[in-house]
Symmetry: C2
DNA sequence: ACATCAATTCGATGTTTAGCTAAATGTCAA
DNA sequence: TTGACATTTAGCTAAACATCGAATTGATGT
């Protein structure tokens, strides 16, 4: 849980997760949204992987990253519950195809 | 927002917030719950103050700390909303007297 | 004034982090 | 096989962090 909050404590990483909300994206495409070097972005991806917030899959020359929505939800929920809150899904979009059951890693 | 997640990324600090959920507590009483030095605890308190997650008030020799529930809620909610979630209060306890309107910083 | 107690600040130390450039790895296409 | 491209690893610096013991501040009681 600490590791998730640590991952979330950087604005670049939070923004990466937001970008991944609308679907999987390659490391390069993600990096294009930010003004830091590719190696730096790669390090951010590693932190997100470590926190299990994203899944990665090599696809040809690229690496596709995918948000693991349920992990994010569980972490947030786990904390919120301790304070008498519950997480309620209000996304009218009904998409959230980021991570289905049976994901590797 | 980063500063809040950073504050939450330490288990000691999260536990402090949980302890404060049931009411204000002095720095000393809080410290007694942990196995680290007083200066270290004082540093943790400073981080929580910096994130505006607690209010502090000198009371005689002691310093009382109080959870600023609404700040925590707003930070969490602000993030959750970006992912299509909402925070719902399910605390049957109806207490939450941690921070009333008009608190001095 | 003085001693005492609670809490913080100071100064030191070791660890982690974000960022960079340069180099290595892996994949595809010619 | 060579070259181009995408990503990660290696190696570094500077800044931030966690932790401690010692010293300091500030309030209370004698």
């Amino acid at each position: 849980m600490s590791i998730v909050f640590k991952a979330l404590s950087d604005p670049t990483r939070r923004r990466v997760l937001e970008l991944l909300k609308s679907g999987a994206m390659s490391a390069g495409d993600l990096s294009a949204h930010f003004d830091v070097s590719k190696p730096t972005m790669s390090a951010h991806f590693a932190v997100l992987r470590e926190a299990d917030l994203v899944a990665s899959e090599k696809l040809g020359k690229s690496v596709m990253y995918q948000l693991k929505m349920s992990v994010l939800e569980d972490a947030l929920l786990g904390f919120a519950k301790a304070f008498g809150w519950q997480l309620q899904d209000i996304s009218g979009d009904a998409s959230t195809p980021q991570t289905r059951e049976g994901d590797t890693q």
